[in-house]
């Protein structure tokens, strides 16, 4: 267990080099080694989606991935959304629509929604519902999350990987 492997990746635009145990999950690496605690651990078996981050623009379950699998990748976490102290338009829409309550699923939901809007900039409500169905929220019943994603889509083009 003491064997360590070198990894290198770009996290929220910052080149990052480290040595990790082979079994270290990506979410542990982000949270504990980099202090990016916005990715949360909810179920550790890939169902709830609170650990969702974007890898090369695609959503992944960071609890189910080993850090070494992200070697060479670009990772985006919730900490990479707000820029210069300003919330990203998607975050702003979540705030306005109260698309969150406890906030635990929120970082994963934001990143999933960002991916969705990247692929489909003007989704219907049904498409948003389908698009976020892979992540669980226990507080909101999803309704205001869907309203928030639709509101964000109406405002500005969303480009995955670019802060506001």
């Amino acid at each position: 267990m003491t064997e360590r492997l070198p990894v290198s990746m770009v996290v929220n635009g910052v080149p990052t080099v480290a040595e990790v145990e082979p079994r270290r999950s990506l979410v542990e690496f982000l949270r504990e080694d980099l202090g990016l605690v916005g990715a949360h651990v909810g179920c550790e078996h890939g169902v709830c989606g609170t650990c969702t981050v974007l890898m090369n623009g695609e959503s992944v379950r960071s609890c189910l991935m080993f850090t070494v699998q992200a070697n060479g990748a670009e990772i985006q976490t919730v900490e990479g959304l707000a820029a210069n102290g300003e919330l990203h338009p998607l975050q702003e829409a979540f705030r306005e629509k109260q698309g969150l309550q406890c906030g635990f699923c929120t970082p994963g939901m934001l990143l999933l929604a960002l991916e969705l809007l990247g692929e489909n900039p003007h989704p219907t409500a049904a498409e948003v519902r389908q698009g976020i169905a892979g992540n669980l929220c226990r507080c909101t019943g999803y309704q205001f999350i869907i309203e928030a994603v639709l509101a964000a889509a109406d405002r500005v083009p969303i480009v995955v990987g670019e802060p506001a």
Partner: protein, 807 residues
């Protein structure tokens, strides 16, 4: 009865859906949850859990685990019993069903902890768990609550002598006479299976012990019942004034973090034993199998007596409740049900017989509704059954029995009071929003096409703001006075006029305590709510507090704020009077400062007053001390003692919310799947502080109620193995299962609370199971199906159809 309040009508901030104060940090991933907390030299704990439902622990060999590099200590259950006293337990007779942070001698459910490993990392701790050798002697398990009543059933707790932890029958009013006069009686057996809050964040704690001072500090994502934390100090064998529990925001609770002190006890014990900070965070399997917070698990046998015109007369309820292995909250869940047992209806008498049994399952705790949501479902199922028997429309039978808005305050047979309401208006709004008549016509058409479309309706109560009487009125001895269940706040105005509010319970569980406080303070001091700084104090030096639960927080904190603002204003008036050379009675609060009445330009802002108070006391009258700060404890505003013979339970849950939900579904009789065509929820929880945030609770609670109604169940095999140990098996509703909820409000202010606010946090889950069960049954009415069990999974629906067709 408290005095009736006059509520102000010219409100500036109350009633506005301002964006929540909590959200900017949560949206940035900076929630500050328990697992985000890292202390220097912190260790990590993992728990060795029982694979058996019921077994004697013959021996534990932890030698190999202790030798693993990185392991600091292993504490077995027997060793923990030396380090800690039993867990705080509000159960009927704790000595006869002793609950400990780790099992000793025998395990009583799958997942119960038998040892804890403390190591340099969670990985190493879990590696070491695999090296702990536990020798078990398996015992027969008791899983079914009715089987647990059998005289030869295996005993979960030998000291109890049976598996019945509590039994009693209460009669309120003349039940036999009402049944004798009744023209029709319907009866049924109803089964509500166990589900749970399942917040996406599990329970966790970080503890730090200072041997130099003897101080034990615990950060935990539950700090409810703050005033009772001396009990946790007793468990951990530290003086109560040497325990400081610090509130950490919770990533959801829904009741399941209410008094969740076992994680705190484990972390605290390990910190004391190792002298280093220790973090213990449940993983999802820990949480699913052993969180101490399963919801109700009930078998009802009910009789409802009525007249032929549909007038309800009396109810006889017999309920067996499966509490699982321990009884931490006693039978408070049924006390909760008794707060609104007759629903929104005029029912003259009631008999309530409870058998609380223990079995080899995870113990019950709290889940949004705390047992009264089950009562709502049971009552609505019976009213629907009566309507069907009398061939009355479900709307009509409710109209004939709903309490009128002029009948309040209304005392129900148990003695609890309903403060106010307008149930007919809520029903009218819901029918209008749903387009009820059109759906009945649509149903007619659908049936001709061979489609199974159903309309379900419920009229349900949501009690709010408990006093803890419900936990103890079950017992003649020991008697206790009524409990005040206080909530507190300290308001501080700094030298620039900035306002800070300190809360003393773990108020943030996903609700909006900071937003509520900011809006209420803004209303009363006439400041911008976004400028109010809300912080959380520790329990050690804090004012008495209780925390959220039972839909109490907003009402109670509003009372505390009212008092604290009053004190701040009194002092500000004194100071301003001196500065303005005016009499205090000639001054008024205006635009966030003090002005001379009729001369608004002659004024001192809050900042001008505050700087004098902070720095220049010697320029002020002698009786003014430096500073501008006020604390206020607000006690339950309306609670009364039960009668000695318990024929009257007193007032213990007086601020009565109400809602009508209407669900329109189509059932696929080939697959058993239920599809929603419409969902309407109209709620009345008094004056709304932030309508949008309440609506969020309504939709979220409805989604949880949908889970309870259709998806969620902790399933145990006959030998007590938990078959739903992951989210692959325990199904939480996703966005594809939850329909859009059309929300309506009606506001009947409470006469007895600040601004007329009532609680609404459990909204949705209190109603949705009743509405959905009703809709599924209505859809399958042509097949003669009765929905007597939840969740109505596809498998169950198909079985019911088969049974009905075979009958």
């Amino acid at each position: 009865m408290p005095a009736v309040r006059e509520h102000p009508t010219d409100l500036k901030w109350i009633g506005k859906s301002i964006p929540r104060i909590e959200d900017p940090r949560l949206l940035r991933g900076r929630g500050g949850y328990i697992d985000d907390l890292v202390l220097p030299r912190m260790l990590h704990a993992a728990i060795v859990r029982s694979p058996h439902a019921h077994a004697r622990i013959m021996g534990i060999d932890a030698a190999a685990a202790r030798q693993l590099p990185g392991v600091v200590t292993v504490i077995t259950g027997a060793e923990a019993a030396e380090l800690c006293d039993p867990m705080p337990d509000f159960g009927p007779d704790p000595a006869r069903h002793t609950w400990r942070c780790l099992a000793v001698e025998k395990v009583r459910n799958v997942g119960e902890g038998v040892a804890v490993v403390v190591a340099e990392s969670r990985h190493i701790a879990e590696d070491a768990c695999d090296l702990v050798e536990v020798t078990y002697e398996p015992l027969p398990a008791v899983v079914d609550p009715e089987a647990a009543l059998a005289p030869d059933a295996p005993l979960v707790h030998e000291a109890l002598g049976s598996n019945v932890a509590y039994t009693r029958k209460f009669d309120f009013g003349d039940v036999d006479a009402d049944f004798a006069e009744a023209e029709v009686v319907v009866s049924d057996r109803l089964r509500w299976h166990r589900s749970g809050g399942q917040p996406l964040e599990t329970v966790g704690a970080v503890a730090q012990y200072d041997p130099g001072t003897g101080m034990l500090t615990i950060w935990e994502n539950s700090l409810s019942f703050t005033s009772y934390l001396f009990l946790l100090a007793m468990t951990l064998k530290v003086p109560a004034n040497k325990l400081d529990v610090r509130a950490v925001p919770a990533g959801g609770s829904f009741g399941s973090k209410l008094w969740a002190v076992k994680a705190a006890a484990v972390a605290g014990m390990c910190a004391k034993a190792t002298g280093r900070p220790v973090k213990f965070i449940e993983d999802r399997v820990d949480n699913l199998s052993n969180s101490d917070h399963c919801g109700s698990d009930r078998v009802y046998n009910v009789e409802l007596a009525a007249m032929r015109d549909g007038t309800l007369r009396s109810l006889r309820i017999h309920v067996v409740d499966d509490y699982g292995a321990y009884m931490q909250f006693g039978v408070g869940h049924h006390g909760n049900a008794l707060a609104q047992v007759t629903g929104p209806y005029r029912i003259g008498s009631i008999s309530y017989e409870l058998q609380a049994v223990v079995t080899n399952k995870c113990q019950q705790g709290a889940y949004r509704g705390f047992g009264s949501e089950v009562n709502n479902w049971m009552l609505e199922r019976m009213v629907d059954l009566l309507a069907r028997k009398l061939e009355l429309d479900p709307v009509e039978i409710r109209r004939r029995n709903l309490l009128g808005k002029d009948e309040f305050p209304y005392f129900i047979p148990t003695g609890n009071v309903y403060d106010s309401g307008d149930y007919a208006e809520v029903l009218r709004k819901a029918l209008e929003l749903a387009g009820y008549d059109q759906w009945r016509a649509e149903q007619e058409r659908a049936r001709q096409e061979g489609r199974y479309l159903g309309i379900g309706l419920c009229s349900c109560q949501e009690r709010s703001v408990f006093s803890a009487t419900e936990f103890w009125f079950w017992f003649d001895e020991p008697a206790a006075p009524v409990t005040s269940m206080p909530e507190s706040i300290t308001l501080s105005v700094d030298a620039t006029g900035g306002v800070s509010a300190t809360l003393y319970s773990c108020a943030f569980w996903g609700n909006s305590p900071e937003t509520m406080v900011a809006q209420l303070v803004a209303e009363q001091l006439d400041v911008d709510p976004t400028t109010v700084n809300v912080v959380y104090g520790g329990s050690n030096t804090g004012l008495p507090a209780t925390g959220p639960g039972g839909s109490r927080f907003t009402v109670m904190i509003a009372g505390a704020i009212e008092g604290a603002v009053g004190k701040i204003k009194d002092k500000a008036f004194k100071i301003a009077a001196h500065l303005l050379e005016a009499a205090p009675e000639d001054l008024e609060w205006r635009e966030g400062g003090v002005s001379v009445k009729g001369t608004p330009t002659s004024r001192k802002s809050l900042g001008e007053v505050a700087v004098m108070a902070h720095l220049f006391k010697h320029s002020l009258p002698d009786d003014i001390e430096s500073g501008l700060e006020a604390g206020q404890v607000f006690d339950h505003p309306y609670t009364t003692m039960p009668s000695p013979d318990r024929s009257d339970l007193g007032v213990f849950y007086p601020f009565m919310g109400h809602a009508c939900h209407i669900a329109v579904v189509e059932v696929d009789v080939e697959t058993g799947a239920v599809e929603f065509l419409k969902y309407v929820a109209v709620h009345d929880c008094g004056t709304l502080v932030n309508p949008r945030s309440l609506e969020g609770h309504i939709v979220g609670g409805t989604a949880q109620g949908l889970g309870t109604a259709l998806l969620e169940q902790f399933v145990y095999s006959d030998d007590g193995n938990l078959l739903t140990q992951s989210y692959f098996d325990y199904l939480l509703p996703s966005a594809l299962e939850v329909p859009e909820v059309v929300i309506g409000h009606h506001e009947t202010p409470s006469p007895y609370t600040p601004y007329g606010i009532k609680g609404g946090g459990e909204a949705g889950r209190m109603m949705a199971p009743a509405a959905i069960a009703s809709a599924v049954e209505d859809a399958l009415a042509p097949l003669g199906v009765r929905v007597h069990t939840l969740p109505a999974t596809p498998e169950r629906v198909l079985t019911w159809i088969e049974e009905a067709q075979g009958a």
